[in-house]
Each structure stands twice: as structure tokens, then as C-alpha cells.
Symmetry: D2
Subunit: 344 residues, 4 copies
């Protein structure tokens, strides 16, 4: 069986495993106070062109989201997010567990707009008894989104502007940052994100690392005491140096961007294969997630050799499935899948 | 500099790193649903002689403590623990973050007694207005404790008995389980723990693994929906197979126990060296943590070549420090430290 | 100015104020352990035909909702409610503050259906990775609803049946119970509610009392330790006897039901007046809340003599407003409002 | 039976009940936006000599404590309090329910000192890994304390100074403020408290009101969005005007202070009676709570005619009990108790 069901099916890029071997026996202080974390943070600040940003390393995405949101909000505030946002749908209430409501906006291809945010916030403050409803306290977006789309620089700039005008911190979930930055047709850079957002993270788990998300906090207001919040959330890894050395590998010579491009390039080939086989896509994404709309018979045929992620039943005989490529996707596996689609 | 400040200063045992290399390119399903996790769980059930226990894998200790305690308690209940317990002192309020108070008992060499538990619980229920105070809902102990001591089988049995008579689930924090099981003078086995506790975890982070704690839940009452609770707490690792393959290595042929014995053996050698150099110990532990009481001048001398953990200022000229050995301690480093102590 | 903006604009029914005067100087034990609370609980059990139900008294509705929901759910569970539900929209995140997500269903005139509940629950369990989403743990409905409608006995029975088949406790918010029971066309009794729900409350604040909500828990499973949960939530009133004596007044000779009928009767008169004046209603409710759709010019004219609650802007020249009658509404005030509507 | 077990055994001072009667039929807007609340707030600002303070009205003390503490702390911070503090011992984890640990200091006659606070805070920041422990974020004291003692102006000033030097907001629980201000030997005024504390409350429940605590927030930093926090905590009373009119009564002509003095005067008479009968006091308090140390035989004799609060078993034949006077204590009842003590 060949897996295309997610982008976290393999351990890590060989260079990371080699680095682990090479540093065996090395002794480091704990909890991210080691030289690897320091150097990785410097590399990330450089690539973000954010010399004053705080950088911290967490293990996973749900942990990063909960820690960052709890760091920003006061108790009576909520976080604005798409109704398809990861925090809204797939974190088993991790945000609510920190005491905060998610203020969900209807999504358009996984994205929300500056205008929607503005309307929600202005409506809140216009209401007579606004203290009876949760106060909008920040905005959460993903890049790429849960359906593989990306914000354009224009869209992101507009959102950032509305947020700053309304005093709402803007947070960006970059679990799939590598693929978002490499998106076909995309025009956003890491330094754009660092300039336009108050805090965000760069996902390592899905882009070459064993695990790990690098939290970047350009806005000094949210830097204070962040390590306390990590510890409280159970996210301060004892052997933090393991996170540092992975992000060193990923950012010391551009490996992170290269892996992102590889994942997207294979997705583009697969996308063409889907079209060539006569099928369409539910979302046209430009990143490493593809959502073909297929007859159920085709799905069943594919399932003999490939693992995919069921997504949505469309009608009695058709479904949308999700196919993910990644940093580790073998071109031969994509070829095999394209072949299978053609024959199905 | 040679580090003796903690037992999480090195990455992992070579066999684990080799296993990572050997499985590179392998594709696995996510979130601990893979064959490695399944096999590791089976190995752990076997060694615990607890065929019906649930086994789950989490990344770190604070996360494990918060997830397990939140799984057991109702909102108005608290957890009884030693005032030196890790949850009481060193988790930045991670337990309180789940809404629960820690009901601290004064420790004796890091331990609490069946009698203390019984008195606290009986006093609670004897009070007229007991609903005005937090209801004792479970008991937390550590093995080995934060000061390196271990419960005897007799002590653990007595605690378990009181807990069962009073309807209090008993949880054991085994972040240093490997060293506790190998304690000089200790008589407790994993199967004793599985028989006497309702839930516990076996620490990998400090005993040979890169990271990872294996949660074992013998009591069926607390097995339900545990994966939801892990996810909510940000503890369901995307690449769960990384946890599975580490615990496979540790438990497929007794490596875990061997590593525990190594750490303790080196500690025992160091302990003798401390005595030979004319110094005493604050706690006499039998495990991998040593707490020598030293003149400050000696501490300063040591600090030129060794990293230790400051513990407690005793008077104007003396301090207690903590020295940890571990699975990875090199005998030559212990020799060097003994030599330095003699010369100091 | 005459107020029709809410049903909590006046202190309390004269009989309650008289009872306060009559009991002045009386000494009572605290926290609801007094004879007034005991007698009030007995009266409520009798009228509910629920001799084994637990009855407790809380001060307000948001407090009652948060306490009851926190008493029922495990940490990873959420509460199903209408998207117009009071907990969903107007409690400033009080439910999320207890760590729980609200699983909102689209409402039909303020109500949700057995079928919607069934689908949400069945979809949850049918999903492959259900532990990645919040588990539906209970159902919350209101009677009457936030837009003044009521469930029929058939609807309520169907909801109860689905809940019991799926193991979901059913909770009913009865802040406006008095008006719901008196609804024109309604066929539900308190004993129906006690039979079909696992826990609910009978609102006193809006139906003749100074304040107070009587929590009734027919299901023994949720009775345990409820007083602890009240205290933890800040809801155990020191002078609990004030709640007891109010509910004694309301339930010793049917005053509660009488007051509900009065409020509804005045609403029905007002409703006819609205129709007679040529206007329509946004929801046709049968209880004490009316939602006329009016030209903005009419609203402005009314605002010279009456206070109403703005509800919804419909178009550039029309709005929906809310008008509430209550136990204390003076018929002459309704006459004046009808007159004003006719002239407007 | 005559009750001396607490200071919340009677409904309210006659003037308050008369005011309730006098305002019957009056219509007011909800949630504390009415003229009574506005006037009461003005009266309180005046008596506190704090013209810029925010004033809000909550129903009870546990609610006030939880709301105020949650308003001040960030998630990783805890509140310093005496180990006998009400939040520490008698609120069923209401503070922990908001996610915060209580950092308990050993009390001296119910009080803590500036020096203890300073040491705890300085030790926290001196520790190497301070982010592994809860950060001290504010200080909570009571006036009068749970054992009836009061801080002198010198003590309170010293605490305030340490708090301001260390950046710790100081909160004062004034559930028994009326008796604290009237304490024999006391020298603290409301305006001292408003000048030295960042936020505090003035208890009505125990000093003449049916219920109600007036929260006063002199520090502008903690005024923002306080009504949201009240609502989220379930503390925004629908008929807020009931709170306003009670505090109008209490503060429009000094009734509050008069009632405090009455309670203390009766306590002082009772105290002399205890001494005259040959008994001693566990704490010498100066306020309305007395803690005589009595032979158990005397306790049993008293229990035939009086209700007291059991406090502490001292040895096999002696106990400490608590006796409370209050605003409503009848001199004849005190006479009867003194007589009984003499005969016992």
C-alpha cells in the first residue's frame, strides 16, 4: 500500500536523522536553553527578517494553537476563525479547554476575509449589551488552509490592516507553511507574514521534521512570559535541543523551502494526472493537498493499492477524497497513482 | 564540561537512533494507530502482567500528569500529592489549568503515607460543610520521587488499600520508573504497580528515549475516551509511530530495565565516592539522583568542570546540590567527578 | 416611560415582599440548609411528580446553565444547543469558561429537532477519527425558547427518546418556564418535563421572584455532589433561605402558574393589538415575548413613551423589535401600547 | 434556639426591606444599568475618596473573589494568600476553576506580612528555572480576616508598598469590611483601603444586606471590560437594581458603618462575658468573630440553647468554637449567652 492520506506518514528527512546520529553522546541543557535552539531561532529570525521576534519551539500544532491563543486573550475574549479552521473542527475542544470560545466565520475555500472580520467586530461593539456576548479578541488564520488554499498577499494585507485598526492581534497557523510558501500562484513570503502577523508558527512536523513547530512572535506585547505558558500547557519539551537541531537542519541552507517546493511539485503533477484522467477537483489549491471528486467505484479501486483520506460524500455515487503529497513523496508513487487513476 | 545536572541531557540510546534510521521511508498511519504503537503496547501489557490495561503514548511528563488527572477527576475534586510532588511544585500550574486544586501533604523524604491520605479524606467527610472545600478525588505519587526515594512494596500496598477503601483512584508518575525499579533496596515491580495503581506511566524521556511516556491504565473505568482527552490536551502526537518504535526498542528485550540498572549502578559508585570524600547526603535515595551536602567552596571548585543542579542553600557556607546519573552516564565521567570531590 | 423591553424590570410579586417582611428577624442556617428551602423543594417535587428528584436553588440563569452543564460533561465533551440558544449567544462564554464547546445546530423558530440531534451524534461516531472532534455529551434546550416559542409534547418526547437511545443527558433551561407552561397551544406540563429531561430549572427571576432559579435533577446520576459544584461556581448563596421562601410563595398555592398565565394573557392581548394595527410578527410565539416587524418610523414614535428591545434590522426602513409582558404587566400599560400602535 | 454560628443568619436590615416595599412596581433596566446602581456607586466612590474608581455589584463573596482574580491574572500566574484565606480553604476550588493556583503563605493570626510576600516573590525570580513554577501575580488579603483579626494601617501600608515595588496588584476581600472598619484598636479607613489596594470589595451580605458585594476598582488598569468578566462568571444579576438599592440604603447616611459598629460592640460585650466566665480566646480579634476555648462539657451545655460553629478540637476535652455577632444581633441574646457561659 502506498499512502497519500496525510503529510505526516514518514519520520523525517535523512539530513535530520543524520544530525541526530552525529550529535549522539552530546550533552545539552534542557527545555530549549541549548545552543541548537539558540542557533535555530537566529536562523528563523533571519529568514523572517524579524530580528526582534521571539522564537520558541513546540512539539505539535494543537499544542501551539492552544498555547498561543491562551497567551493572547483575556478570559472574556474569543478567537475569530473560519468554520473550517483546524481549531474550530479538529482539536477536540483544546481551545475551549483554555476557556475561550471560537467565533466561527463561514469560509470561502477555507479562507475568511478582512470584510467578514470587520463586520463581526463592528457588530459586536455596535450592540447595546455587548458584554453579554464574547468579545472578539484576536483572529486565527491558516497558511495553507485546511483545504490547501492560500491567502494572497493582498488578502493577508487587508486582514492585517483590519486587525490593526480594530486592535485585534492576528495569529497564523503555519502547520503547512512550507507548502503554503511554495504554492502555485502564491505571492506571500515568510517576511510578509512576520510583518503582517503578531504571532505565527512554522510547521516542522509536516515539512521534513520528526516533529516540531517553531513559534515566532514579532509583536513584543505577546513575548512576555511565553515560556511559562508553554510549560503550563505541557509544551516545554525536556530535550528541547531535539527541536533546535531539527530546525537548524531545516533552515541553515534552505532545506525547509526546498522540501515545500518538492511537496507542491509532486502535487502539481498529480493534479494534472487527475485532470488527464477526466476528474475534477473540489478545491483548486496550488499546494500539497488535492481534493478530487471521484465516482465511488474509482475510490474503491484505488483503495486496493493506495491509502487516501475520505473527505465528503457528495451524492449516492460520488465522493471527495483528500490526497496529500509531502516533502517525502516519491515521484514513482505519484506516477503509480496517476496510472491507477487513468485505468480506474 | 561534564553534565550531571539532570537525566535528560542526551538524545537517546543508540539502538533507538538505529531503529529510526532503519525505519526511514516507512509509511505509517498517524496518531498512534500504527503497528509500532500496537506492538509496544502489547510488550508493555506483558511486562506489567496487565493484559486488559489500556496503553497510550504521550510526549512528556507534565502533559501526561495533566491529561491523566483531568481524565479522572470531576470538576469539584482535587488531587492529593506530596508538597514536593512534581505537579505541586514544577509544572507552572498545569494541573490548576485543568481546573483542579492540588491537596498537598507534607512529605517525608519525598513520600506520603497511607495514614496521611486516610486522615485527609476522613477529615474532609467528617466536616459539617464539606461541600465548601475541595473534595479529595484521587492520589498522585511518584516512583521514584522527586528526591530520588522509592516506596517499598509495603508502603505502596498500604496506600493502594486506603485508596480503594475510600474510593480514590491511585495514580503513579513514573517519569523515573526505570531508576525506581532498579533502586538499591527496592522491592517493587512493574506488575506490582499495575496491580496496585489505577493508572500510571512509564517514563521514556529520562530512561533511554528521545522523548515519550507510556501511559498504562489498568482500571477499565478510566480507559474510556482517553484518546479524546489526549487530543484535547494537545498530546496526541501526529507521528505517534515515533513513540511506538521507541518503546518497542525499550521493551522488546529488557533494554528499559538494563538502562535503569546502569543509571543506578553509576549513582551508587558516585555515592560511595561522596562518602569517601567525607561528605554526606541530604536524602539517601538508592536511585539515580544524589543530593550531597557540600561546602560552597567545594561547589565552586566542582563548577569549573561539572554542571550540577543547585538545590538548597543550607547555611551561609553550605549547600545541597543535585547530581543525576542516567542510562547514558559514562563511567569515566563518574570517575572524574569522584576524583574532583576527593581533591576539593 | 413604560417598559416592555424585558421580563425582569420589576422587583417581585407583592406576596414575596410580604413574606420577606413577615420573616424579618427570623434566624436560619446558611447555604440552603434551612426549612424554607426544604419545604420549597418538597413543593417542587410534588408539582413535578418527581419524588426522587434533587432540588437546588441558584440565583441566576447563566450560573444555573454553567453549573449544570459542568456537572454533566466530561472534559472532552460538548453540549448540543440551538445557534440561538442563550448559552450559545448571550452568556459571554460562561460555558466555554468551564472548558466545554457548544455544538450549535441551526434553529427553526428557536427550536432544534430530534432528527438534527440524531444526525449530529451519528455523524460524530461514524467519522473515522472521532477523537479529533468534540464528543457530543448532552443536549440543551430552552422552554420557552429565546424567541418565545415552545416545544410540543410530541417534539419534546422525540428529543428525549433520541437522547436516551444515544446516551445523551437532556437539560432544559426554564428561565421562562412559567410562560412556556402557559403558552397558547402548548401541551407540556412540569411533570412531562421532569419525566422527559435529566435535569432542568424553573425560573423565578422572570416569573414573580426577586431572583432565583430552582434546579431540578430527576436523574440520580447527576445528583451526586451537586452542592460542591454550586459552591465551586460561586452559586451557593449564603442566605439560601431567601431563595427557599420565594419558591415557597410561588409554589404553595399555584402562584407560579397564575403569574405565567397573566404574562401570556397580556401578551395575547398585545398580539391582537399588533395585528389590529396592521403589523405582522417575526415569530408567532404563544408566550410572553412578541417580535413585531415594524416600520422604523413606528419604532421611533413608540420610543417616545415606551421602552422596547431592538432585535433585528430587516431592511432600510423596517425592524423587528422585542416586546415582553410579564407577571407584573399592568393591563393599562398594554392598552396604552396597543393604542399607540394603532395611532403610529 | 438562638444562633451565633454565623453573620448571615438573618435577611436584612429593616430599612432595606422597607426600600424594597417602597420601590415595588417601579420599572428599571437590567444588569446594573439602573439609577439605583449609579447612585450607590457614587456614594461608595465618595466614601472611599476614590472619584475615579469603578464600582460594580456582585451577589456573593466567592463569586467576587473568582471574578476579580480572573480579571487580574494572566494564565500562568497565581495569587498569594494566607493558608487560612477564604479562597484557600472554603471555596471548593473556585479560584482553581479559573485556572489559577493559590500560593499559600503561613498565616499569623489569619494575616500575612509584607516580608513574607517579598520573600516569596524574590525567591521566585531568583530561581534559575522560574518558568517551571507558577509566577506570583497578585496578593489577596481579607479585612477582617477569617479569624476576625485586622491589619493595622502600618501593616497594610507595608504590604501595599511591597506589592507596588514588585508590580503585584493587591486585592482585599471585604466580605466583613463593616466589622473590620469598626475593629477595636483598628486604624484603617475605607479611603486608606482605596488608596493602598488595586481592587477590593465591600461586603453587604454580612453587614445588613440581603446579599451583595460592592466591588471597587481604584486601579484603572483592572477596570477594563469588568462587566464582561462578571457576566462570564455568572455574576451579572438580571435585576441589578436590587443590589443598587441595598447599597444606597447602606451608604446614603452611614448605615453601613453604624451596623458594623453594632456588631462589634455586641462582640466586645460577649468577649468580656467570656473572660468573666473564666475562659480564654484562641484569637483576640477586636471584630465580630470570637473564638473561645471551652471545655467540651460547656459546649454541650451551650448547644441546648444556642447554635455555634464548631472550629477546632484542641485536646480530648477542649474545643475552640466560633461565635459571631452581626448587625442584627439582639443585645438580649448576647445577655442570655453570657449568662449561660457563666452558669456552664
Amino acid at each position: 500500500m502506498i499512502r497519500f492520506d496525510s503529510d505526516y506518514i514518514e519520520s523525517a528527512h535523512p539530513r535530520i536523522l543524520e544530525r541526530l546520529q552525529a550529535t549522539q553522546g552530546e550533552q545539552s541543557p534542557g527545555y530549549g536553553t541549548d545552543p541548537h535552539c539558540k542557533r535555530a531561532a537566529d536562523l528563523i529570525r533571519a529568514v523572517c527578517e524579524a530580528p526582534a521576534a521571539a522564537v520558541h519551539f513546540l512539539v505539535g500544532g494543537t499544542q501551539a494553537n492552544a498555547t498561543m491563543i491562551a497567551a493572547v486573550l483575556r478570559p472574556h475574549q474569543g478567537v475569530i476563525a473560519a468554520d473550517t479552521g483546524h481549531i474550530t473542527t479538529h482539536e477536540t475542544g483544546a481551545i475551549e479547554a483554555t476557556g475561550h470560545k471560537i467565533l466561527a466565520l463561514s469560509n470561502n475555500e477555507g479562507k475568511i476575509t478582512a470584510r467578514q472580520i470587520q463586520e463581526l467586530v463592528d457588530d459586536h461593539w455596535a450592540a447595546g449589551n455587548h458584554e453579554h456576548t464574547v468579545q472578539p479578541g484576536m483572529v486565527y488564520i491558516s497558511f495553507s488552509t485546511e483545504v490547501g488554499t492560500v491567502y494572497s498577499l493582498e488578502e493577508l494585507t487587508a486582514i492585517s490592516q483590519v486587525c490593526r485598526e480594530r486592535g485585534l492581534p492576528l495569529m497564523l497557523d503555519g502547520a503547512r507553511m512550507g507548502y503554503g510558501l511554495a504554492a502555485v500562484g502564491g505571492d506571500v513570503t515568510l517576511s510578509d507574514i512576520a510583518r503582517l502577523c503578531d504571532l505565527f508558527y512554522i510547521g516542522g512536523t509536516k515539512v521534513g521534521g520528526l516533529f516540531g513547530e517553531a513559534v515566532v512572535i514579532p509583536n513584543a506585547k505577546f513575548q512576555q512570559d511565553f515560556r511559562y505558558l508553554m510549560k503550563r500547557q505541557g509544551g516545554l519539551l525536556a530535550k528541547g535541543f531535539l527541536l533546535g537541531l531539527q530546525f537548524e537542519c531545516l533552515f541553515e541552507d534552505g532545506l525547509y523551502f526546498e522540501l515545500g517546493r518538492h511537496g507542491v511539485a509532486e502535487a502539481i503533477r498529480l493534479r494534472q494526472g487527475i485532470f488527464d484522467a477526466g476528474f475534477s477537483l473540489r478545491y483548486d489549491t496550488g499546494t500539497n493537498q488535492l481534493f478530487p471528486l471521484l465516482p465511488d467505484a474509482v475510490c474503491q479501486k484505488l483503495a486496493e493499492s493506495f491509502v487516501y483520506c475520505p473527505w465528503e460524500k457528495v451524492d449516492d455515487t460520488h465522493s471527495v477524497i483528500r490526497l496529500c503529497t509531502s516533502w517525502g513523496t516519491r515521484p514513482a508513487d505519484v506516477d503509480a497513482l496517476i496510472e491507477a487513476l487513468k485505468k480506474a
